[in-house]
Symmetry: none
Subunit: 204 residues, 4 copies
DNA sequence: CATGAATGAGGCTTCATTCAT
DNA sequence: CATGAATGAAGCCTCATTCAT
């Protein structure tokens, strides 16, 4: 996901490999230390020099954005893939759990950027992010509406509320990370509020 | 709340005033800029010199802790004061909303510390925090159990789950901060899951 | 010459001493290595830590500006002090030589800033510089006009041309720095062009 | 003009073309941004990759040197071509103006090197430059002596002083770049000092 | 030969913390 | 006790130079 020059020739094999390593390293470091994790640490973890990190992501904000964009992409893929599932309620539940699982321990894009003192440059580059977010929301909305039509989810929640609830639930589950029973009960409350009773405890 | 010298002589009047100013300033700055707000900024806002900040809070972690301890204290006070309310369901709801309101936009203790790279020293000093947290949990548990006995809250959630839900809800409400309707609907889902139906939208 | 807070309380004794050291060190380093001389080198030479340099001059551009402002101040002082001299021609010559001597090897303000990639902030702070420059020009104009009225300097050069000539001469003398005779002859040409014959060779 | 491999096989056509492009690009970039203009920028402007720049000029200092050598060569050519002019005074004046014009806005070799932190290696490689400089000086000396014999230039300036004056004049004219009248008057003073009265203002 | 990715030293700047005044 | 100057590690970023492709 190189931020600039969107349509230059494809990266050399090694460059692509490095880019992936950097992204993984950044994800790991940001998850551990928050967005204040240092570029140096990321480079070290990715097995490259700092300069390489900056060649791929000219700014720390770019790197943060890339990490979150990648995460959004994964969620979008999941949503799309569940699009054709048989049981709409099951599909919706599945996605809800997946998001909660994924987001646990992780930070939100906005939060990360706030922590970085976003500047104009960063904002200018964000339409990639906005588009991605749009994609995700559309895919999720599909799942939501099918589940609502099937009577499995209450009708008065829209994509906005769902989004908020997903993020909040992820945060709630963080708090009980090492108590699977509490985790299940906590999740149960939310699902119940959505009329999605009988959720199985997340298996981990 | 300087962690060292647990029972030194009481502070001089001006010193006590300074300490209060610093705490307020720190709360304001951390809320605005996150835990990476600079000590200098806090000192400036408190109308003192950096040295003074460090005399009262030997470490930035100490200051962060003090801010959160103060916040916990306020919550505890609220819980205790609701202890004797007539309607247990109402009391519980009241507290729930108060917490959500308070936490919105604010950062969690853990989060703040993570952002600061907590070290062992910091952890060792946290028993003041742990004690306070204990107090809060007890007070809240009181509210919860009364509400449960009154049949207003489902019986399978304990203080652990409640804590998680409160934090998560605060985070969820952050996401819809400027849409009062969505905010109400989001809150409704959670309260509904807790069997606390019919909550009025938070008035702001 | 602290750039910000123009009228705060006077600096502590040690701070003032350090500021002077830093300024001297900066002057020396910039003279040797041009404006790309590193802050670290300046700090080392001044016997302080980098942080101290930045406390006094928040930006490298500020430091460069301070160095040049100090230089302009010295020139202005010289011009003012020659204001009351008996022989206007002698006074003018004296000043001319002083400037040439001083400027030799040195860089111009503009040049230095160009080399630094001046930004808006820097420009905003430059009125101090502009005022100083104005002072200098006025003082020099006084010297020039007296010398012209005394018939010692040709009438068709104004302050603008003089300024250009002074800077150019300084640069010319740089080229023959280690050949006093050539230096004298070079200077002679310019003075002669100004009708200021018979200049003694600069004594160094 | 790569300093190493003095007599290697002649360059391939494309290589020679690249070399020329790089040289032009370097000249343009250095003129715009000073010697701190980046190699990358030069490569971009030349339409090649950085690697190519370094193949032709193993060091940035080499590139700077090449740029200035090229400039000297042009001056030398000019001097040689004026060698046979009818009016020695006119020829000399012509050359003087040409140099001043050329040098205006541009940086001197020494200056550029200073800005780069020249090291011993660089100095060791400079004989190409020294030879060229020698050529130029000889050509100019020819012009000078003819003009002196024709009584158009004072006899006590030699090539050394002339060199200094030329550089200084270029610098002086820079200061009045956008005021043609002041420019003419400034130049007049110098030419007058050389006994080269009545010079026409440079036509630009 | 050209390309452009990788390297890593070095530059500027911030900021928690210490300590002389 | 308060002040605010000094310290210096650490962060982000640039760029000359090297080297695999």
């Amino acid at each position: 996901m190189p931020p600039s020059k969107p349509s230059s020739r494809p990266l050399r094999a090694d460059a692509r490999r490095n880019q992936a390593h950097i992204l993984e390293a950044a994800e790991a470091v940001f998850d551990t230390e928050g967005p204040s994790g240092s570029t140096e640490a990321i480079a070290r973890r990715a097995g490259v020099a700092v300069g390489t990190v900056f060649r791929h992501f000219p700014t720390k904000a770019d790197l943060i954005q890339a990490v979150f964009t990648a995460r959004l992409q994964r969620l979008t893929d999941h949503a799309v893939q569940l699009q054709g599932a048989e049981d709409p309620g099951e599909a919706f539940l599945d996605f809800f759990l997946g998001w909660a699982e994924l987001s646990a321990t992780k930070l939100t894009f906005a939060e990360a950027l706030i922590g970085e003192g976003v500047d104009v440059r960063a904002l200018a580059r964000q339409d990639a992010y906005l588009r991605m977010r749009q994609n995700l929301l559309q895919a999720v909305e599909g799942l939501l509406q099918r589940a609502q039509r099937a009577g499995r989810v209450r009708g008065d929640v829209g994509i906005t509320e769902l989004n908020a609830l997903l993020i909040g639930t992820a945060r709630a589950l963080e708090q009980v990370r090492d108590d699977p029973d509490a985790s299940a009960r906590t999740l149960e409350v939310v699902l119940d509020g959505l009329r999605l009773r009988g959720a199985p405890p997340p298996d981990r």
